[in-house]
Amino acid sequence: MASLTGCTGGSGSNSDRETFRFGIVTSLSGPLRYGGQVTKRGYDLWKNRINEDGGIEVNGNRYEVEFTYADAQSDPSTGADATQKMIDNEDVDAMLGPYSSQVPLSMGPILDQNQMPCITGSSESPELWRNQHEYLFGTIPSVNVFVGDVVEMLLSFDPSAETAYITGVNGPFSKSAAQGMRAGAEAAGVEVLGYELYPADADRSSIISEAQSAEPDVHLNSGNIDSNATFMASAQELSYEPNGVFQHYGINTPGYKNAGDAAAYTFGATLWLPQAGRSGGQLWGDSQTYADQFQAEYDKLPEYTEAASSATGVVYQEALAELGAEPPLTGDEQTQLISILEEITVDTFWGTIDYESEGENYHNNITTNPLAIQLNEDLDPEIVAPADVAETEPTYPIPSWSDR
């Protein structure tokens, strides 16, 4: 059973309140707890910062923000139950979405049925947007879109790759990422020597031996953080040495460092880094300012999902200002908010956010430019493409294991 936690202290409509109330369903427990905390930190930082400023400005007045959390327990059906309870009992004006893609997939029909706006600052599966849920939006571009773009960048490094081998964990997210990799490789005119999806707990030695025998120029692999770390450790054990290894997701997360020295020189994709040089919008003038505040609050550098979650709050504050309605929002105002979100373009420290209003990326923001990154010897990520924002030249081909 989903648990509801927060500071609202009760349920039912409260027409006298002078705060905007957001409901958040995310995974605070279970296997996706790490990701749930990622979204929570991002959302909380936005709430703290906007309330320090006095709240969201609407028609010259300011209204503070309050949150009510519900635990999806990393389970789609629990997430759906929690969403329904949130709408029925917590009198929320709008919602912020969960980590992962399976939970929001189950939430979409409930949001539409109850006409409840929700933007998720995580969730990268293209399936979410193909379902065309009217009340669900997403700030992070679909993984197949941006990973494909970064793969094209990687494959253009000198000497240009002619062959690639693609592997990935056989799950919804990683499969979409692998499909994006294949699309990127094919767009770059690179021959795909092998494409294999494997179970998350499969032993990597067989997979790597098979790829090794194909002798590709680059290896592209998708999986979660632990799985990708294990992949690199196994690649090192078996002396697998393509010119480059690209992995998604999470090469710039602490968990990936479990691969130790083997993690160095891995290529990856991200949508945001503190040094990305993005600027504009409210609350945080640029990406570095956001990163500094995040570091001060949580004693760690923000991941791109954390930044996207905070940026999602900025979108809401601009959309609510444009709506010009005081809290609590009526049903009609919530529907008007949807129209505004479809039309609005918001510049933020995270980049420009502009949700699609039609097509297979319906309500997904696909305007944010992805970045190709590479871990250096100290396992710090550096932007290596595109050229206009690159911090350094890529180390490519990557050093052989014996030269490290």
């Binding site: 499969a202 032993d203 067989s206 031996s209 025998s213 770390a229 054990e237 078996l238 002396s239 479990n258």
Partner: protein, 296 residues
């Protein structure tokens, strides 16, 4: 056309995996024979052993191999104290002792997993080693990752040690007699409780130590236990239930079939093939590949 290089490397990978599975299966088979329980917690001992390796390694100069003796000793003690609890729920006037043992150890497995999740959190942990790193290659044969070789050697050594103890020492004879017939063993003056506790302690120690090695190969994660429980079940069925030497063959079959299937059919077919093998075996040869397992 099948590449010879890929085939030999696949066989090497399978052999080294076999060593890892032997390290887990040996203790599991022992307690099935001696205590007549199916311990659902086997995979969780692997998991908690891996986390123990991750926790101890930084104290020991980032070398998890040095943690193995400490983990072995600690879990031997844990096992000696846990076994009487299992004995309590599987004896007396309780019906279906096998089921009681299964339910009790299922609860134990959930307790261990929940405890580690609460204490260590959901993130995986590196189990570092600076000794078993890199690999060596034999021309025309293949590459041998050091950490997997070390794990396989541990599995083989553990199995050899157990077999030596069981078949060449007085204590081992007592344990085998308990496994054969408890009542007659008791009449012959064998201290049943003592040898059952020692067996369970040795099993817990062995399995948790294997967890340290497995953690070095893959890393320690809270969710890793369940698959080793599955593999342990597979191994004792294939070996013949309670027949310890059969673990050698079942480990080899498990490792090699897994590697060959992953390369030549696809990783998604591994469990289909492995458990298909078990189903067929249970139908046509329930005493295991060597025909020496126990049957009801």
């Amino acid at each position: 056309m099948v590449s010879t290089g890929l085939l030999t490397q696949t066989l090497i990978n399978g052999l080294l995996l076999a060593g890892i599975y032997m390290a887990v299966g040996v203790g599991f088979s022992l307690i099935f024979g001696v205590l007549e329980i199916i311990d659902f917690a086997v995979g969780q001992y692997v998991m908690v052993g891996a986390f123990a390796g991750a926790a101890l390694a930084p104290i020991l100069g980032s070398e998890a191999l040095l943690a193995v003796p400490f983990v072995f000793a600690a879990f031997f003690v844990v096992g000696v104290f846990v076994q009487p609890l299992i004995h309590h729920v599987t004896t007396g006037d309780r019906p279906m002792p096998l089921l009681m043992g299964l339910v009790f150890t299922f609860g134990l497995a959930r307790f261990i997993r929940g405890s580690v999740l609460t204490i260590a959190g959901p993130n995986s942990r590196d189990v570092p080693t600076s000794i078993a790193v890199g690999s060596f290659s034999i021309p025309s044969i293949g590459t041998f990752p050091m950490v997997r070789v070390a794990t396989a050697l541990f599995g083989v050594a553990a199995l050899a040690g157990f077999l030596y103890y069981l078949y060449r020492t007085e204590g081992g004879t007592a344990i085998r007699s308990v496994a054969e017939d408890r009542d007659i063993s008791r009449l012959m003056g064998v201290n049943i409780n003592r040898y059952q506790s020692l067996s369970y302690g040795a099993y817990a120690a062995m399995t948790a130590s294997a967890g340290v090695f497995i953690g070095m190969v893959y890393s320690a994660s809270v969710g890793m236990g369940m698959q080793y429980t599955g593999f342990a079940f597979f191994m004792i069925v294939l070996a013949g239930m309670g027949y310890l030497p059969g673990i050698i063959l079942s480990g080899l079959v498990l490792g090699i079939v897994q590697s060959l299937t992953a390369v030549y059919l696809g990783s998604e077919y591994v469990f289909f093939i492995l458990f298909g093998l078990i189903w067929v075996l249970l139908l046509v040869r329930p005493t295991g590949l060597l025909g020496k397992g126990e049957v009801a």
